[in-house]
């Protein structure tokens, strides 16, 4: 469905290449920071493979930091893309999985899964997915009718769904008394520290097909933004595209939530920034969001690790601290 114009292809290639380089630089930054002091030079030497003598350093970089950095990149990419899709489908610049309550819904599902003793994959991921689909349906039902596209109605229903989800999460936490409680609380705040290569591989296997699917549907997304009649006359099967995109996005979001908890506002920051720089064409924005979102998340995780003297801040705290003020700014600007 992507019309391959040479200009577009060239632009796509250039932007992707540029963002890929930025991502690589930030990932390297992420690899070279941690509680143990390893100089940037020796990190570089270890990565390139010149230095293999120190097995401790080797396993710290390859088996502890690398999975974490890749995990952050995947999570950031998925959440940014989720934001982009929701903003396009709902035609609302403030839509985002976390703000809409989709993340909260999958968190409920995931906690239920954890409490029932399921393993992270496929058990917890599936309960998280059903939670996110349930909230998605709830939001769509609530904001349906005449006012479906009105910003305030959608945001308000999102806020309410979020409040409800928060209450259910609180209820579940208050009912938990054993050591799982700590795990749930750390996980809820957005914890990226427990990824090993196997888990990262599974998450990548879940997310990458969704990335391609969304990219494949990026032109219909462009057309949808022009209006439903317009899209229909251009031959877009509106219902099918919308449903596919919504389900794929919810799937991505619930997968990330079941792995690293609630990381909020990521889907707000990057799509807006990239739209500002590269314009509104989704054929460019989708890959840009994947790479840029990954970069943003890796950077937030980097901050989460270096800011405190002892231990680390959950990454979700950092993203919310950056994202929430931006949200208020966007809301203020769009209401003018």
């Amino acid at each position: 469905m992507i019309t391959a114009k040479p200009v577009l292809l060239k632009r796509l290639f250039l932007i992707s290449f540029f963002l890929l380089i930025v991502l690589m630089v930030v990932m390297f930054l992420g690899l070279s920071s941690g509680p143990t002091q390893i100089s940037i030079r020796s990190v570089f030497q270890t990565i390139v493979g010149i230095r293999t003598s120190d097995s401790m350093m080797h396993s710290i970089i390859w088996q502890i930091r690398l999975p974490r950095v890749i995990l952050s990149a995947l999570v950031g990419a998925a959440l940014s893309l989720g934001g982009l899709v929701f903003q396009a489908l709902l035609r609302n610049p403030l839509a985002e999985p976390y703000i809409l309550g989709i993340s909260g819904g999958s968190a409920i599902g995931a906690i239920v899964g954890i409490l029932m003793g399921f393993s992270r994959f496929p058990g917890v991921s599936l309960t998280a997915f059903s939670g996110s689909i349930a909230t998605l349906l709830l939001i769509l039902a609530m904001s349906s009718g005449q006012t479906i596209l009105k910003k305030d109605a959608l945001l308000l229903s999102g806020v309410m769904v979020n409040a409800f989800c928060a209450a259910v999460i609180m209820f579940l936490i208050s009912m938990t008394q054993d050591s799982r409680l700590h795990n749930i609380i750390f996980w809820l705040m957005g914890d990226l520290s427990f990824g090993d290569m196997q888990q990262v591989g599974i998450l990548a296997a879940i997310l990458l097909p969704c990335f391609f699917l969304v990219f494949w549907l990026s032109n219909p997304m462009n057309l949808l933004l022009m209006g439903k009649e317009m899209a229909q006359t251009m031959g877009v099967h509106i219902k099918l595209v919308t449903v596919t995109l919504l389900v794929a996005t919810s799937f991505m979001v619930s997968a990330t939530v079941s792995y690293c908890g609630l990381v909020g506002f990521v889907g707000l920051v990057m799509p807006h920034l990239l739209r500002l720089v590269f314009g509104p064409d989704h054929r460019v924005l989708v890959p840009a969001c994947i790479l840029g979102g990954g970069t943003y998340m890796v950077f937030c995780d980097f901050l989460a690790r270096i800011l405190p003297k002892q231990g680390e801040i959950p990454a979700g705290v950092i993203t919310a601290m950056i994202g929430a003020p931006l949200f208020i700014y966007l809301l203020k600007r769009s209401s003018k």
Partner: protein, 314 residues
């Protein structure tokens, strides 16, 4: 010509003999030392087989209780890392920290190059243990649930560190002290109702399957919060209805808050514990950490619950 070659063969034989002797002297101890420093395979308390070196020298303890046990066996010098709340004995405070026991910092553990990590099932995230093992760091997990299994744990840690004799001695003295308490308590049939408060708001007590409950029962008390829930919550009303004769409040650090709690209970003079001034504030680590110090907690508990048994000795 012939003779020359003969002397050479003799010479050869001599050198050969030398070589064998030298080899015997150098290689044999080498072989022995290799077998001596060989690994041992033990089964931990979760039934997993763990292969560790015979004399682990770089041990990382993943819980405060394990730190205490290692120090109790005089092997503190082998600890290269401990968790944040490892506050006993005082030497443990200075050791490098690897995060709290529920939120371990994997990278810090690996950077200490441990040849053994001792983990506790109740608290340590299983994911960290698995990843340590995938990095070829042996993890021995313990899961003590009562005094008996604490002593078992002490013995297993002794075996791990190759100090079985010390462990046996420690366990013997623990057993002896427990027996003393038992025979002391046997002198009376009176079992006061004890409310053991570990949480302030909400009020939290201890159920049947806790160390504190075991200590209360051994010390001749009746835990009014007995039940299947490990850490049940109470309202003031419920506690009043139970009319405890002894209230033991365990504090972590902020004693001031607990003094306030005590003052709060004093508002209910009809409660036997208030009437008879039987409200105490004690160090929680003596009652809920699975360490040899539980016996100290037990001895303290008897004095609180049955002060009359000590009247003669004063």
């Amino acid at each position: 010509m012939f003779q020359r070659s003969k002397t050479i063969t003799i010479k050869n034989m001599v050198t050969f003999r030398y070589i064998t002797i030298v080899l015997m002297i150098t290689v044999l101890p080498l072989i022995l030392s290799v077998t001596a420093s060989a690994n041992k395979t033990l089964t931990d308390q979760l039934g997993r087989h763990v292969t560790v070196s015979d004399e682990p020298q770089r041990v990382v303890s993943l819980a405060p209780s394990i730190t205490e046990i290692v120090f109790a066996l005089d092997q503190g010098h082998r600890l290269k890392g401990v968790t944040t709340y490892s506050d006993f004995p005082p030497q443990a405070v200075k050791l490098p920290k690897v995060g709290s026991y529920v939120q371990l910092d994997l990278e810090k553990i690996v950077a200490l190059k441990p040849d053994l990590c001792i983990a506790i099932k109740d608290g340590n995230p299983i994911a960290v243990a698995r990843r340590l093992e995938s990095l070829k760091i042996p993890v021995y997990a313990v899961n003590p649930g009562n005094l008996e299994s604490v002593m078992q744990t002490v013995q297993e840690v002794g075996e791990l560190l190759n100090v079985q004799e010390k462990a046996d001695k420690l366990v013997q003295s623990m057993n002896l002290r427990i027996q003393k308490v038992k025979s002391l308590v046997a002198k009376t049939t009176y079992r006061p109702r004890v409310f053991f408060q570990i949480g302030v708001s909400p009020i939290v007590s201890v159920g049947t399957h806790t160390f504190s409950n075991e200590l209360i029962v051994l010390a001749g008390g009746k835990n009014v919060a007995q039940g299947p829930i490990a850490y049940p919550r109470y309202s003031i009303e419920q506690v009043l209805a139970l009319s405890p004769e002894v209230i033991i409040i365990t504090s972590m650090a902020r004693v001031a808050i607990f003094k306030q709690v005590k003052a709060e209970w004093n508002r209910w003079p009809n409660m036997p514990a208030v009437r008879n001034h039987q409200i105490f504030i004690e160090d929680s680590n003596l009652f809920d950490r699975p360490t040899p110090r539980l016996v100290d907690g037990l001895e303290l508990m008897v004095k609180l619950i049955h002060p009359e048994l000590f009247e003669g000795t004063k």
